[in-house]
Symmetry: C2
Amino acid sequence: MQIGVLGTGMVGTTIGTKLVQLGHDVMLGSRTRDNEAATTWVASAGTGAAQGTFADAVAHGELIVNCTAGVASIEALGSARSADLAGKTLVDVSNPLGFPDGTPTLSVFGTDSLAEQIQRALPDTRVVKTLNTVNHLVMVDPSRVPGEHHVFVCGNDESAKATVVDLLEGFGWPRESVIDLGDITASRGVEAYLLFWIRLRSVIGTGDFNVRVLR
Amino acid sequence: MQIGVLGTGMVGTTIGTKLVQLGHDVMLGSRTRDNEAATTWVASAGTGAAQGTFADAVAHGELIVNCTAGVASIEALGSARSADLAGKTLVDVSNPLGFPDGTPTLSVFGTDSLAEQIQRALPDTRVVKTLNTVNHLVMVDPSRVPGEHHVFVCGNDESAKATVVDLLEGFGWPRESVIDLGDITASRGVEAYLLFWIRLRSVIGTGDFNVRVLR
């Protein structure tokens, strides 16, 4: 599949590499066409890896993965042509994390969420939130955490969620490890979860952890 | 032990009953001395159960458990005499949950938390946050959820946390199921977690669930 990955940080390059390994044709998008991190990534990721602007990557992808910093996501997506976004599935793995006074917090919270902001900004795009509750390495290799553990999806479009569950399965997430939290407003919960994750990360001393929901 | 439980809702009465069953001498505190829910509770909980105002319950307890609605906690604690709170351990199980436009959100979030507000308001009291990540029934009977799952504690005073871990053990939480998240600022994470919990609750259809941290 042709996939546009937005963001050249650890999340974008890690997901981009995994998608290339899975045989997809991936364009990594950033502010500028000659972004250095993207150039390095293209050189190492091999055949199937390309780079471009956010707009280029969106035009390239049948599916888009938003790996930009959450606080910059709306702007990044705004630079793409609306016609290139319409009807497509956009996987949002980002978190609206900021450090206003050196302390981690979220720029949107409670009665709204970043994924909802994106969905409102792009009403013709099918936004699915997932993977934002684990670190970039676990995202594409859930076996780094032993045992059964869960990943969450939410979004307003059932077929887009089904596509994303297929993608997650390709990343190594068994189908039964995916919990569908319903519509895109569930992003409020999984984004808020980040503050819990950050503290756990600091206590555990590694990002190789996740939760299993027991009932 | 003499314990003051603040709040006569489901959490307060459930925890109060468990504490009475464990042989503690419990006073349930509320705004008024003749609170109807408290009267009903005293009649059913049996020997070791009493009722009073918030100030009475605080004076009664060697240990205090805050089970008031989070948005009312500071006011409830403010009605107690400072001397009756000084040096005591206060277990905060509440969440600063509100529904400003019918939607669940938190009244404090990100760079602050309810438990920190309480700790600042009561600098001579040893605040420990715990149990706010599970529903009232699971709080005092973790075996309602099958398998190994976790509860979190945080606070600035190590001996107060040790007291709380003993209390949790009495409730049925094995010592190894308690994860110490560090100082009271970790409340930001466990309180934010509530928005995730609320959505999971709605999808799962019961409050009998919890998470296990796998690493």
